[in-house]
Symmetry: C2
Subunit: 90 residues, 2 copies
C-alpha cells in the first residue's frame, strides 16, 4: 500500500552505466530535478558525496563533476566542511 506521504519521498539516485548519457550528467539531471521540483528546497542540503557514493556506487570525482554542473548553472552552492545546498533564489 502506498500512502500520500510516500509520494513525497525522494526516489533513490540511480545511474545506468551503460547509458550514452555520462554518469555525471545523469547525476546532475536527477539532482536538478530534485531542486526544480522542490523536493530539495532553497538552502536545503543536497545529498552528501558519501551518501551519493553509497546510493550509486559512483566514484567521488564523478559525483563532484555532477554537482559542479549544478554549481555552474547557479542552482547550488557549496560551503566547505558543511555541504552543498540548493540555491536560495530557486
Amino acid at each position: 500500500m502506498i500512502s500520500m506521504a510516500n509520494l513525497l519521498i525522494m526516489e533513490p539516485l540511480a545511474i545506468d552505466p551503460h547509458s550514452d548519457v555520462p554518469s555525471y550528467a545523469q547525476l546532475a539531471n536527477q539532482l536538478r530535478d530534485m531542486i526544480s521540483s522542490g523536493q530539495i528546497g532553497p538552502r536545503q542540503p543536497l545529498p552528501s558525496i558519501t551518501r551519493i557514493q553509497q546510493e550509486t556506487g559512483l566514484a567521488a570525482n564523478t559525483i563532484r563533476h555532477g554537482i559542479q554542473v549544478l554549481i555552474d548553472e547557479g542552482l547550488a552552492y557549496t560551503v566547505p566542511g558543511r555541504g552543498t545546498f540548493a540555491a536560495p533564489g530557486e
Copy 2:
C-alpha cells in the same frame, strides 16, 4: 646573450605546489595571461597537455582542470582530436 626575439619567447610554465593557490588555478592564470597578452593569439593552440606535463609535472587531470577554467570563461575552446585553442574573439 639575450636577443630581442627571446623576449617574445614564452616563459616556461611553472607551478608552485606549496602555494595556497591551487595548481590548476596557477596554471589557468598563466595560460590566461598568455592569451590576454597576445602571447597566444586568437585561434592559436594552447600548449598540449603532454607538453604542460613535461614542463610542470602536473597530472593530466589537473591540467585539464586548469584548461577547463579558461573554457568556462570563454577564453579557449577545444576541438576533439586536435587540441585546445585561444578563443577567436580574443
